[in-house]
């Protein structure tokens, strides 16, 4: 009986027992996996080719140096994607028969760039367009890498935005329009600000995907992190540089993934908290005289 009073001051007997069991079973499972891996016949070779300490420490600063290219790609494309994605979502939500061709074009765009594999778009634009030698059209591989990623990801992001816009209750639009706000003003001041807040977690999720897909542009010959790792790998026939590259992406992505979780949780808590404060305010209201 006394144990049930425990939880007020720490874990208590039940909680401590659960924690012990969790720690124990985790140690056993990981221990068994490690023993099996280390004792398998291929382990020494694997260790030599994938987990090579000296190669790792030599490769890490080099791949990190080239990672800056990926970061630039990511950051520039990111901004363009946010703008183009929102524009597409707004175009698709334009009402009335006059805007049918606009809606159709936006829909075709989104369908097309979601359907075509990214690497195809990157090849067609990155190799194909410069090969046409049209005067005034850039030949820079980095430029076409940014364009490809922007076209591909803005299609996804516009769908995220659109889901957000459609999740805003029609009564919000009715209230805004009844004040005399135009359709565009209603979107700008009422619908989009609420929609964007709702879609931040799924947007972050798409950006994790974009971060990783920046390595696809290595096929255009842009020497970024993956290409650099490839150069290091073939020089020694050792895959540890790839492992170092993978580690860089994990380290960069994990905070984003956790941030997404935190934001989702906060939104959930926020709804509960505001619901609670509303009834608290209502209670307070009762005890006050009418104005």
């Amino acid at each position: 009986m006394r144990a049930t009073r425990g939880p007020r001051f720490g874990l208590g007997a039940e909680g401590a027992r659960a924690l012990l069991i969790a720690a124990g079973s985790t140690a056993v499972v990981f221990g068994v996996l490690a023993v099996v891996a280390v004792n398998s016949s291929g382990w020494p070779l694997f260790q030599e080719k994938f987990l090579n300490g000296p190669v790792f420490w030599e490769a890490l600063p080099k791949v990190l140096g080239k990672f800056w290219i990926n970061v630039q790609l990511f950051l520039i494309a990111e901004v363009l994607i946010l703008v183009l994605g929102l524009l597409l979502a707004v175009l698709r939500s334009l009402p009335g028969p006059v805007f049918f061709p606009v809606r159709l074009l936006a829909t075709l765009y989104v369908d097309l760039f979601r359907a075509v594999p990214g690497i195809l778009v990157i090849f067609m634009l990155g190799f194909g367009i410069p090969a046409l030698r049209i005067p005034g059209v850039p030949k820079d591989q980095f430029f076409w890498a940014v364009v490809s990623l922007t076209l591909l990801y803005s299609a996804y992001v516009s769908e995220v935005y659109r889901a957000g816009i459609e999740s805003i209750h029609p009564s919000q639009t009715a209230a805004a329009r009844s004040l005399g706000l135009s359709h565009a003003q209603t979107l700008r001041y009422v619908v989009v600000p609420q929609a964007v807040r709702r879609v931040v977690p799924p947007l972050l999720n798409d950006f994790i995907g974009l971060q990783k897909d920046t390595v696809l542009v290595s096929f255009l010959g842009v020497v970024e992190i993956f290409n650099e790792a490839g150069i290091l790998e073939s020089a020694r026939f050792n895959f540890t540089p790839y492992l170092a590259t993978a580690l860089v992406f994990v380290v960069v992505t994990l905070p984003l993934a956790r941030l997404t979780d935190v934001l989702l949780q906060r939104e959930k808590n926020g709804r509960i908290a505001s619901g609670g404060s509303r009834s608290a305010a209502a209670m307070q209201r009762v005890s006050q005289p009418l104005p």
Partner: protein, 251 residues
């Protein structure tokens, strides 16, 4: 019939949603400073009538005129019309991402082109008048239902409308919060605001309406002074409706 001085003229309005006829030939003329209470069972067309007058719903047939100008005519700029007609909804519909002050000043700033300073000064006068001054910097979810609905009324008033439409504005409130909202409407009526009020609060309708209209099956079946409508209604359907209200203890 059509007096050009009338604040609002509704002529033979028809509206259906698919197979469902909601308004079946509504005629109504409202003089300035009149307060019209629309009563009737749920589904009788009260809300739809208000939404049609605000052009949220397009009418199928008929005309609506505001101060002699036909607002249902083709090619009319609906945004220009709507800024002259305020509407307050049952579910408040405040903008949750904006503070009370920004909710109230959005229309004046973006539609009427007022400067932020002017709009806020005017909004503060209204908020003070309705006991909401200290809530100006709060977000709507920090307010009680009654406070939210009063903010919604202030938001509509900030546009200085010629006509105010109130769509069952107390129906979503806890009973103890109804009075504070009704008091605000009472004050507006005393101030001469032209209003159309769809309501289930019969006692309130009797107190403040200059005219009561009973809607039944998409028509105005009967209309008259509150004394006549609640005292000696002519139509059997009206008597039946009011008897049910009395049985429910709502009058």
């Amino acid at each position: 019939m059509t007096g050009t001085g009338a604040a609002l003229v509704v002529e033979d309005i028809w509206k259906s949603f698919g197979q469902l006829d909601v308004l079946c030939g509504i005629d109504l003329e409202v003089a300035e400073h009149e307060v019209i209470a629309l009563i009737g069972a749920s589904g009788s067309g009260k809300s739809t009538l208000l939404r049609c007058i605000n052009l949220i719903e397009p009418v199928d047939a008929g005309r609506i005129l505001i101060k002699g100008e036909e607002i249902t005519a083709k090619g009319v700029n609906v945004d220009r019309i709507r800024r002259r007609i305020g509407i307050v909804f049952q579910s408040f519909n405040l903008f949750p991402h904006m503070r009370v002050m920004d909710n109230v000043t959005l229309g004046p700033r973006k539609v009427l082109g007022r400067s932020a300073a002017d709009a806020e000064t005017a909004a503060m006068v209204l908020l003070e008048r309705f006991g909401l001054a200290e809530k100006a910097r709060d977000y709507p979810d920090r307010l009680s239902g009654g406070q939210q609905q009063r903010v919604a009324i202030v938001r509509a008033l900030a546009m200085q409308p010629d006509l105010l439409l109130l769509d069952e504005v107390t129906s979503a409130l806890d009973p103890e919060l109804v009075a504070e909202v009704l008091n605000v409407i009472r004050e507006l009526a005393a101030g001469g605001m032209t209003m159309l009020i769809a309501t289930h609060e019969m006692g309130f309708a009797r107190d403040i309406a200059s005219r009561v209209c009973f809607l039944d099956g998409g028509r105005i079946l009967e209309q008259g002074s509150p004394r006549q409508m609640f005292g000696e209604p002519h139509e059997a359907r009206t008597r039946q409706f009011l008897n049910r209200i009395i049985e429910a203890g709502r009058l």
